[in-house]
Symmetry: C2
Subunit: 422 residues, 2 copies
Amino acid sequence: MNQISEVTEQIVDRKLSAVAKRTKASIIREMLKSTSIPGLISFGGGVPDPETFPREHLAEIAKEIVEQEYKTTLQYGTTEGDKQLKQQYIQYLRKYEGIEGLEEDHMVITSGSQQALDLIGRTFLDTQSICAICDPVYLGAASAFMIHAPKFIKLTMQDDGPDVDILERSLQKMTEDEKEQFKFFYLVSNFDNPTGICLSLEKRIRILEIAAAHKILIVEDDPYGLLRFEGEKIPSIYKLAVERGLQDYVLLLNTFSKILSPGLRMGIVVGNQKIVRKLVLGKQVADLCTSPLLQRMTARYLERHDPIVHLQNALKVYAKKRDTMMASFKEDFGNIEGVHWTYPQGGLFSWMCFPDWVDTMEMLEFAKKNLLIYIPGEAFSVGDSNKNCMRLSFCLPSEEQIREGSKRLLKAFQQYAFMKGR
Amino acid sequence: MNQISEVTEQIVDRKLSAVAKRTKASIIREMLKSTSIPGLISFGGGVPDPETFPREHLAEIAKEIVEQEYKTTLQYGTTEGDKQLKQQYIQYLRKYEGIEGLEEDHMVITSGSQQALDLIGRTFLDTQSICAICDPVYLGAASAFMIHAPKFIKLTMQDDGPDVDILERSLQKMTEDEKEQFKFFYLVSNFDNPTGICLSLEKRIRILEIAAAHKILIVEDDPYGLLRFEGEKIPSIYKLAVERGLQDYVLLLNTFSKILSPGLRMGIVVGNQKIVRKLVLGKQVADLCTSPLLQRMTARYLERHDPIVHLQNALKVYAKKRDTMMASFKEDFGNIEGVHWTYPQGGLFSWMCFPDWVDTMEMLEFAKKNLLIYIPGEAFSVGDSNKNCMRLSFCLPSEEQIREGSKRLLKAFQQYAFMKGR
């Protein structure tokens, strides 16, 4: 045992790279491990309800393409991705996003959107780099960027999306050297993770104007766009960019995790061919290729079925759950001063903020005692902001659990407040 | 168009990270794109013959687990990997490698071995790091390490594996600071890519002794170990380490790409729990998790079928192809001075070297004109060595194509020699 701890010290503790030293465990993924406690209600995970997955169709397709297309599906594939999937995705973007003119070399298939974020981080960021993010920020993106230790410009979230004035002022004040080091602005355009906020049309256009004026890249992450319960669809920043001939300033990230199945680990990046090519070279090193079997499964599903038609039932279920959560919060927290939450028109999340004296990470212990979990706001920060906030997901618990969960949250808050002498 | 090229210059050419600037296209993957020329014989790709994949069993399993285990297979999974697959793999290592005592937290499932190599590079290497590799080296590993720009100690290949004296002398000469910066020694233990050489038992033991004496990590990559045509199996370095209580000094990399199907993109790393944990944290950022569907497919296949029994037919086919290649080389090149090649007891490759005046990258143009491709030796170098060598794969071409390919190679060599005035 002596020897082993010596090895550990020699190899693990002293020999890690700078990137590895900066790599921290994701609070969410660590928390999700403990969700099997009986009676626990989880507002934690942003995972879709497995009952919404088109399992019969996917099962049938899987069998068929392994049997009949094994020369492709069981073999190595190209790093760029399956041409059939790209063609289906071009049609999909035309149909659902109204985006025209895309070709295969505008896109690379990734192993989920997380790999896209990782490749973007690796391709653009160094320690002296600068990039802009929202605050709060999607923590998968934050972790993929933070390991490179860039400087962050943090855009406060407002009701209609991030405060882009902060971005514009920062860019205006930059020296030429700093501008050279500014790499991109990352945001989730629809039903943001964690806030649930949908970026307004005005701000989308404004962001594009800033991008064109300052020649910066916008990374638009859109995993939730099709999960809209109400209100009119707002064009993606990428589509608005195409209409204005500015598409080279935008990378669009998409995934089939929320509308089809996360188990397929299917992501896609759309953008300027030269940037896509750099991401492909990064992917070559990262994992050679995404499984051709999963790519072809996705392609065949899109060819034969309309994911949006399939999604209608799930959307009704999610919308009802959102309604239940909003009604419960109003009932339980409506009269508590300084507590407010977002009303999401789609997606999976609401974001609740408490008065400044609340630390939701501390409060989590009280929630757990009441058999409830949520994700503390600080998980979505690159600094120490959002400590008084939390992300609440309504997609997995039943309506009854949501009602009960809201009451448990109130109880946890009251117990925590009592402990704090409030 | 003017605007687009300006964007390209602003964003792509000037804003890449140091890692992205160092990332080069893989010669192999770029070459494999052009293998669809009619009549072309390819000694290039190290890909298994798709006819050897157990497609009926995999098709049946795929359907079943999507239908019945959709709550797992179509959902997000843990970053560490599917417990069922880990349990199957523990049994597999016990049965085929005689390795005992492994538990789930000794292993992480990766998206192919390439991801394992990438995670190892990210976890350990910085620009000031030192690591040891073989020369020639597997280019997927080389690229995963080179992007971090470490210093390399290159061990010349000998008939029984790399020249480990070079490693030992280098370690002996190192200052304490340099030793701190020495991260690992990477090698392919069985039927090496590209040389086809199998590391001798003596050298395996010697490598372990060096590891223990100098407290260094050995990264043993073993994708081809089960593809043995003849001769007795040699225990893996990892097994020898376990027997000596030195297992914490070794990381064992394995994959199901060569014995089951590359399309599953299934890799695994076995080693010290703390190192494995660091790799898991890296993987969390890289892609969250490997597809639970593919993991469960692999697990269920291992549970129901014996991959080695299944492999017997493929091994007979590969062995005959190897024999054909060896006989053809003897016939065509046996009398040419300065030309020699390895005799692989397993795996997919032979390595052929020509006299020093030959540049196999230049000669490739002559080969292509004769409708033949191979992988030039310089693809397997981190410097400019191996220019007179080439990797020749016998797994995909038919025996007739191998005979004809050898003649085309001779013709290309003669034409090249004539051009060079030899």
